[in-house]
């Protein structure tokens, strides 16, 4: 064999081996071409941070999946951009017995994407006891029945303001045609303005216009959601024109983007409030004084003004965002007082006896962990966590930051293997403060047990009388300020940025409702 031939052979074989493996998934990549290149095609490319990992009602739509779901699926009850309850797939509803039974009158002449009619049966299908929402959130629902083709009755164990609960886009109405004859999920079929077209795992999801949409016809032909996990990369993609719209824009980019020609920044205060969740089952957070000390130590004004560039509202411990129902405007919140914070710790028995700046009790240093998610909120939470760490060090608490994936955090939360978790809004869709349940003993993730609190919560959620609700929710808020089962930091402002050609977008307070109905590409 000629030697140069051998040499070429080696190279060829090497490339062939790698090349062959490259071809395994090749055919899947064909659909990606031409994204966002032609403006006149009315295709919108949106940068989101996570892929849609589930499309069916048996699983919660985690991460940014809800932004995509809200294009494909719709709920019986909806919210307008300012969180007022408006009709969705149900035209009207009533409760004949103060919240124990709810009757929904469904919109007629609505069809699913597969052409089948939307009717009472599909509602029963969507809220069957197989659904995630029945198992996790709407446990008091006893039955869902059809009264006629377009009337549905929900029967509950106890009175509950059900319509508020049904606004969440993670439990929409799905078509029984999502499943095949064997009951396996095939593809998402909803009633929304856009229809599912294709999905490439961790890369993109393509939706096309639903020509038969019952409401205002969408102006866009096609919407492509690109999955870009890093917030910074997402913003860069907008600036370079790779995408037309990005959600969850990090605060530090807002000022620069606002100054940039052609880019529009949309901001709105949401129902979300970042908070420090304590594990009140274990030392040191089983002592109320330690939790109060943290509340006095952390300056939430600084967090907003210095870390988040003035975007958002300092909460100072207030659990309900000002845009939520029954948020108490006169609530007395915390302002920073480091002396008081230190004194409270000493009162709780933590003293710095060896002069290293860290307090001890019985020889144990005051060392706690603070878990921060690696996911969507990392961009805002990482600096916040470090400021919290720095501040708490000043009062003698040694904080160790752990960065973990959302799923891993849930597991630790479940087992109680944590000290503090920095959380974004939790259980806070819509204006109704359902989120009180987070600290209820009955919540699987709660690590706070207080009978008074539980009773207040039970009472508040049992009534449909607004006057009574208001009083109860006000006292719940005062309770949270007093007892600090969690310390609420910042009422989050949501930031969406759009490219120069994007017109007709209105931002809404309700986070997952990315309303694309009036959006189009213009000059």
């Amino acid at each position: 064999m000629n030697r140069s031939f051998k040499f070429i052979l080696i190279i060829c074989m090497l490339f062939a081996v790698i090349g062959a493996s490259a071809c395994i998934g090749e055919e899947k990549d064909r659909t990606a071409k031409g994204a966002g290149s032609v403006e006149s095609s009315q295709e919108l490319v949106v940068g989101i941070s996570t892929d849609v990992s589930s499309w069916y009602l048996n699983m919660f739509a985690a991460g940014d999946a809800r932004f995509v779901w809200s294009q494909v699926y719709e709920t019986l009850v909806r919210l307008d951009p300012d969180l007022n309850v408006i009709p969705g797939l149900a035209e009207s509803w009533e409760t004949p017995d103060d919240g124990r039974t709810w009757i929904f009158h469904l919109r007629e002449n609505v069809t699913f994407h597969d052409g089948s009619p939307f009717d009472a049966d599909s509602v029963v299908f969507s809220y069957s006891n197989q659904s995630y929402v029945r198992q996790a959130v709407l446990k008091p629902v006893q039955s869902v029945e059809t009264l006629d083709a377009h009337t549905v009755k929900f029967v509950l164990e106890k009175p509950m303001p059900l319509p508020f609960y049904l606004t969440h886009v993670a439990w929409p109405v799905m078509c029984p045609g999502c499943l095949d004859a064997e009951g396996n999920f095939v593809k998402p079929v909803g009633t929304g303005p856009f229809m599912f077209e294709t999905q490439k795992k961790d890369q993109e999801i393509v939706l096309t216009r639903n020509e038969a949409y019952w409401g205002e016809k969408p102006l866009l032909d096609k919407v492509t959601f690109k999955v870009i996990p890093e917030a910074a990369t997402r913003v860069i993609a907008l600036e370079t024109g790779e995408v037309d719209m990005v959600i969850k824009v990090p605060e530090y980019d807002v000022e620069r983007l606002e100054a940039e020609e052609g880019i529009q920044v949309h901001r709105k205060l949401t129902t979300f409030t970042d908070f420090l969740q304590f594990n009140c089952d274990n030392s040191p957070f089983n002592d109320t004084r330690v939790r109060q000390s943290i509340a006095y130590a952390i300056d939430t004004e600084t967090l907003v003004n210095e870390v988040l560039e003035g975007i958002g509202k300092p909460a100072g411990g207030r659990p309900y965002s000002p845009v939520m129902m029954y948020s108490d405007p006169d609530l007395e919140t915390y302002t920073q007082d480091l002396d008081k914070a230190g004194a409270l710790l000493e009162e709780a028995g933590w003293k710095d006896s060896d002069g290293d700046g860290i307090k001890e009790k019985g020889g144990t240093p005051l060392h706690v962990t603070l878990i921060v998610s690696k996911g969507v909120w990392a961009a805002r939470h990482n600096p916040m966590a470090q400021v919290v760490q720095g501040t708490l060090r000043e009062v003698g608490m040694d904080v160790e930051i752990q960065v973990l994936d959302e799923g891993a955090i849930s597991k630790l939360e479940n087992t109680g293997d944590f000290g503090m978790i920095l959380r974004s809004g939790y259980f806070v869709w819509g204006p109704y403060p359902k989120h009180f349940f987070v600290h209820h003993s009955g919540s699987p993730y709660s690590h706070y047990h207080n009978e008074t609190y539980d009773q207040l919560v039970n009472a508040a959620d049992m009534t449909v009388d607004t006057q009574e609700q208001e009083e109860l929710y006000h006292s719940l808020q005062s309770f949270v300020i007093e007892e600090v089962p969690a310390f609420y930091l910042v009422h989050e402002e949501k930031v969406v940025a759009t490219g120069s050609s994007v017109k007709g977008y209105t931002i809404s307070s309700e986070d997952p409702w990315l309303n694309l109905s009036g959006v189009y590409h213009g000059k």
Partner: protein, 313 residues
Amino acid sequence: MWKYIAKRLAMVSIVIAGVTFIAFSAMYFAPGDPAEVIALARYGEDLSASQIGTLREAEGLDAPVHIQYLIWVGHLLRLDLGKSLVTSEDVLAEILQKLPATAKLAIASLLVSFLIALPAGILSALRKNSLLDRGCMFVSLVGVSIPNFWLGLLLIWLFALTLHMFPSFGYGSLKHFVLPALTLGTSLAAVTARLTRASLLEVLGQEYIVAARARGLDEHTILFRHALKNALLPVITFAGMQFGYLLGGAVIVETIFSWPGIGKLLVDSIFARDFSMIQGCVLFIAVLFSLSSLAVDILYAVLDPRIRYDRHD
């Protein structure tokens, strides 16, 4: 030679067995009951406690560790790497789905590295100790010292943010390849250039080249007809090591550029504490790397029987 190949095969089998052992032990780092973790990995999330109990008996998960290991290897032999603890998807299918992206990135980076390294290395060797040589070697030394994560960020800053020439993330068109392949390829080029130079210098010093010179053959012919092909043989077979370098570097480069490959899958799984996926990725990468080294070695043995393989004797 056949003896050599047989021996290499035997050794790779031992190595792969060891690799499976290391991968298996990863499960024992998982919090909670390893048996439960393994059961979940095998049958997906929706298992009740009683089901796990039944499974534990049925599958021998309460057996001693070494028996469990053997059962697990049995599953491996049937190409069953289990299911993701997070998404319940099949681990092997998931890895195979990510493989093309990583493989393509590796090829592109290899091309970039050869394009830079071969000319640089050859020129340096031909003008040994010249200013050019010193310059090239200095640059390559700086090159090996640049961490690829920093280079990646620098390239993003320059070409994506400032010049708007190439996309900073994603996967799909040819444009998406430019920055990741440059990042991964440049640092590889630094090593390859040095190797090319050293190898060519060695060949140029050998008798037959000296003899060729004495016969009055012109430098051009000597270089291209005689020296280069002999000098590049070690460079090419060094690709085994380069392949390993690429796989390792892919972890970082894929993370920076949101490249949907195996490296990013591994990092994501670590943060998600998805132990079965971590296990699968590690196992897959190690086996792939071992087999590719084996292939290169055997190929080398077949093509160049002159060389004795006593590296391991």
